[in-house]
Structures are given as C-alpha cells and as structure tokens.
C-alpha cells in the first residue's frame, strides 16, 4: 500500500543510509519493511544479497576507492561492518528488550 515517495526522498535512519553506500546498494530502490515503508538495516542487507546474486555491479552511489595512504592501511569501513543479525532485537541482552520504534511496536501489536 506504499505510495511512491515524492521527490526521491528516502525514509531510513542515517546508519542504514550509510550501510547502503557501504554495500553499494541504491537505497532509493530498496523496499522498506518498517512502518509506512521505512527502510531498515535488514532491508538494505536483503537488497545487497539480491544484488550480489544478480550481478556484481555496484550502484552508482557506491563509494569510489580513493588513492590515499591512510595511516593504518585499512579504512574504518570494514571495522564498522556489523554482523548480519537484524536490528530489531539485541540478543546480547539478558532482558527481553525490543528495539523497535513506537509505530513499529503498534503495528506488531495489531
């Protein structure tokens, strides 16, 4: 039931937008699974996997490698990459804590 988002506006948190660039995913073409179609980390990872099995082509939004001699020889990109687990629950927590926004929780409730 999602209408096209006007003016190419993307509704995704900053960390998800960054992840999309990192994985070479064109976030404007990702289907969001959150409330009103908000794009989650999981949506971007799914899109990246689909891209990969499709072609090895990267979106034009992908970061260009730059010829710089970075101090430790490794960009922090790889360090930042998290494991594949979804963003909605933190399994490390002993407490059953749901990290989902109010609107998400209400949708689940219904």
């Amino acid at each position: 039931d999602e209408a096209e988002t006007p003016s190419g506006r993307v509704f995704a948190p900053p960390n998800v937008r960054r992840l999309a660039r990192e994985l070479g995913v064109d976030i404007a073409s990702v289907d969001g699974s959150g409330p009103s179609g908000r794009i989650t980390e999981g949506d971007v990872r799914t899109a990246a996997e689909a891209d990969e099995s499709d072609t090895a082509e990267t979106a034009d939004d992908a970061p260009e490698p730059r010829s710089v001699s970075v101090g430790d020889g490794e960009s922090s990109v790889s360090k930042r990459t998290t494991d594949g687990e979804t963003a909605t629950t933190v399994e490390s927590a002993a407490r059953d804590r749901t990290l989902a926004a109010p609107a998400t929780r209400r949708v689940a409730e219904e």
């Binding site: 948190p13 960390n15 490390s92 990290l99």
Partner: protein, 475 residues
C-alpha cells in the same frame, strides 16, 4: 440546593483529576466513550496545583533574581529585591491559567465533571460525597473505572504538618515571605529543588538527610555536581542524620534535633521546617476492598502492562500505581488505560521514561546507566561531553556538568543518558526519542545539530562514544 442520593451511570469513571486522571478522561472522551471525572479538590491534581508547576514557577523567579544579582562578571550590576508574596501571586496566576485550561479542555472534549470525593460501593459503583455547601452525595455506576487518586507527602513521627513551623512542599510553595533560616528534612528531588530555590531567595538553608548524599538513585558524579553547587549557594548539608524532634527555640524560631544511626544527636535552629521525605499513595480513603482490589504493603495498586488492576475493568494510573511517581508517567498510563478501554491495542510498552530534577544545574536522565546496561546483559560503551567544552554553554554562563550517553557497543543502540547541566530537562527529550526509535550512536552523531546549542553536546557525546568526537579528546 441539597442533592439527594441520585444514581447515574457512565462508561468510564475516572477518580482524581491529576495528570493521570484528567488526561485519561480526555482521551477516553476523544475515543467516544461516555466519561465522568470526579475530583474532590482542584483540577490538575498535585502536579498543577501544589507540585510540578508551582515549584518550577518559583524556581524561575529565584533563578532570575539570583542570577541578576550575581552577574558582575558579565558587566551587570543589580541588587534585586524579592517580594515573595508577589512572586507567589504570579505563580498562582500561572496555576489558575493551567487548571482553568484543564477544566475547559475536559468540557470541550465532552467529559462530565463531578466535584466530590469518591469511594467504592461495589465493583461497579462509587458513592461521591459532595463537600461544601451542596453537601449530599450521589452514586455513579460504571462499566470501567480508572483510579488516579495520586499521593500525599509522608509525615515523620513528631513532625505534624498541622504544626505551624512544620511544612510540606505545598505549604513551602505558598509562603508570604522568605524565611531567614530554613531547615529541610530530606535531600531527594523535592527537598533539593526547594532548598536551592530558598537559598537563592536569601534563606540560610540547612539540609539533613539520612543517607550519605543528595539525590539518592542518581549516580555519584551526577549528584556531586548538584551538591557542590548547592554548597556554593551556602546550603549546609548534614548527611547520615534523621530528624527526631523539634522544640520552640529561644529566639522565636524552633530547634530541630537529629540523630545518627549510632544515636549521636545534633541540634539546628531554624524559623521554618520543610519535611520532604517521600510521598505515599492515596488509596486508604477509597474503600478499595469494596471493589475487590488489594493494595501492596505500601498502599500501591498493582497493575499490568495495560494499566489494569486485578479487576479487569478497573485500571490504576499515576502515583497510586507505584514508581516512578512522575506526572508524565501518570499521563502516559492514563492514555493507555483509556485506549485499552476503547478496545485499542495500546500498552505500556515504552522503552524508557525520562525524568528531570530542576536543581542548579538541572538533571535529565532517561533509560539505563552504564551499570544498569551491564546488568541487563549489554556490553555498554559510554560517551561524554562536558559542557565547559560547549560554546553555547559558555555563552549562557552555565557551563557546569556534562552529557553522558550509554549505548550497546556491538550494535550501537542507544540505551540511556545522564545529563547534568543547563536545560538538561529539555535536552533529554532527544535521547528519549533516540531510545524509542532504536537509534544507534551513529544516527545521533550523524544528525546535524544547530550551532550554537546545548543539544550539540548530545551529538558530541555520541561521537565520543564512537571514538570520534571533535570537541573532546576521545578515550
């Protein structure tokens, strides 16, 4: 006119018109439910009449007078004179405006207002005794009931609020003049807000507290900043002492005796005494057993995550439903109760309740502390930004304190924050939203924050936790 015992019926009966009750009543009416709100004293409850609002109004006044009198450093020379009874009048005007607003909003939303004191007659009926002129009483039958009768200050043995020099917070917010010497029993948030206020207004303030620091429940480094500032304002603290009795003093005032655990006694002269050692629920005047509801030993009513009591059709919200006893928790619970009654999928499923203390500086907290996060099984990482590195804080001439943000290291999820400093009560709102949204440190750090604002310190604390702060050295 004497009203006899007439019986009326209602879908939703709300007992008590504080921030729990009036909000519940308005929301229930908005959902199309026939709603009746019974209040025995004043619309807005403790919060609007004797608590949050009056205290914050006097804090504003005291701050302004004190700051203007201590701004030579900024080139401002003033020697403000404070007329406390005029300040209290101004405060009363603010209260009237708000309580009048509550009454109007209730009516505009179609809530039936009944004045009087309610007691349960059975599981589906209350009797409301009308005070004052009209006298008499009426019975109201209900499908659903929301109990929101709030709390009252706890008395300590030997210190009766009925006695002239012994005051609860309500009385201290309605004084005619600034006492020369004020003794405050209890250094919790109410005691600390009021001692700071009166110290700024010119009282010699002494605080006695059983525990060993101010603001029990807050982390040491948070409480310390507030205590230090209070000491700078001339407040004299005595920890580890409980007030045991008082007598009339030789000079017209009183002498209060305190006792340590070991039985060591001290005496303090004072003109007025504030006892602020906590609050207890108002549930003993409700005949709750007639409704089939038991209370805890301390008098609280147990509720589930829909604000429901052991009786499915009776809800309890606000101070009667236990800690945290805060106005915004009361309102949230009231909204959930009303929506559940309306058949909606509402629940008390919030992740974090923010809280503020309006001391100097203010405190704002939300979610978990570092050690709570650890106990909960997270791997916490912490970022901090001192306000003395904040341009905005320096320009306001209030640069004490810090923003601390707590997050889960592997996932980056924001779990909590402790802010002590200027506008801490406002700044905490952003982090509450971050927690509810499941935002990560990166999300907070990447959001552009206006320069120069105190809110930049929130962003900077998130960056600090990520090891990439600009305005502080990263650990």
């Amino acid at each position: 006119m004497v009203v006899g015992d007439i019986a009326t019926g209602t879908d939703v009966l709300v007992v008590g018109a504080g921030p729990g009750g009036y909000v519940a009543a308005i929301r229930a009416a908005q959902k199309g439910l026939d709603t009746t709100l019974v209040e025995k004293d004043a619309y807005g409850g403790t919060c609007l009449n004797y608590g949050c609002i009056p205290s914050k109004a006097l804090i504003t006044g005291a701050n302004l007078a004190h700051e203007a009198g201590h701004a030579e450093e900024m080139g401002i020379h003033a020697d403000p004179a404070v007329d406390l009874s005029a300040m209290v009048d101004w405060k009363d005007g603010v209260v009237d405006q708000l309580t009048g607003g509550v009454e109007k909003l209730c009516k505009a939303n179609g809530v039936n207002l009944v004045e009087g004191e309610a007691r349960f007659a059975d599981e589906h009926k209350v009797r409301v005794a009308h005070g004052g002129e009209g006298q008499g009483s009426e019975s109201i039958e209900f499908e659903h009931c929301i109990v929101s009768t709030g709390s009252r200050p706890i008395q300590i043995p030997g210190f009766e609020f009925a006695d002239d020099p012994i005051h609860d917070s309500r009385e201290l917010l309605a004084m005619d003049s600034v006492p020369d010497r004020l003794l405050v029993v209890g250094a919790g948030y109410i005691g600390m807000e009021l001692s700071t206020t009166y110290a700024k207004l010119g009282s010699d303030v002494t605080v006695v507290e059983m525990l060993d620091d101010v603001l029990p429940g807050y982390e040491d480094d948070v409480a310390r900043i507030v205590r230090k500032r209070a000491e700078e304002l001339g407040i004299d603290f005595h920890f580890g002492e409980g007030a045991s009795e008082w007598q009339n003093g030789p000079d017209g005032g009183v002498v209060v005796t305190t006792e340590t655990e070991d039985g060591e006694e001290s005496t303090y002269p004072a003109d007025e005494v504030l006892v602020a050692v906590g609050r207890q629920p108002v549930t003993d005047t409700l005949d709750l057993d007639a409704a089939g509801i038991e209370t805890t030993e301390q008098g609280f009513i147990d509720t589930d995550d829909r604000a429901r009591t052991e009786q499915d059709h009776i809800f309890a919200v606000g101070d009667v439903a236990g800690e945290p006893m805060l106005a915004h928790t009361a309102s949230k619970e009231g909204i959930v109760a009303a929506e559940v009654i309306a058949g909606e999928p509402a629940a008390l499923d919030y992740q974090a309740i923010p809280a503020a203390v309006f001391t100097d500086p203010e405190i704002g907290t939300v979610g978990m502390t570092e050690s709570e996060a650890e106990e909960a099984g997270f791997e916490p990482t912490v970022g901090q930004m001192p306000f003395r590195a904040s341009g905005r804080a320096l320009t306001t001439n209030h640069a004490e304190g810090f923003v601390r943000i707590v997050a889960d290291e592997p996932s980056g999820f924001v779990l909590g924050a402790q802010i002590v400093g200027p506008e801490a009560s406002e700044l905490i709102a952003e982090i509450a939203l971050a927690i509810e949204m499941g935002a990560t440190l990166e999300d907070v750090a990447s959001t552009i924050h206006t320069h120069p604002t105190l809110a930049e310190a929130v962003m900077e604390a998130a960056e600090n936790a990520m090891g990439q702060a600009i305005h502080t050295l990263n650990r």
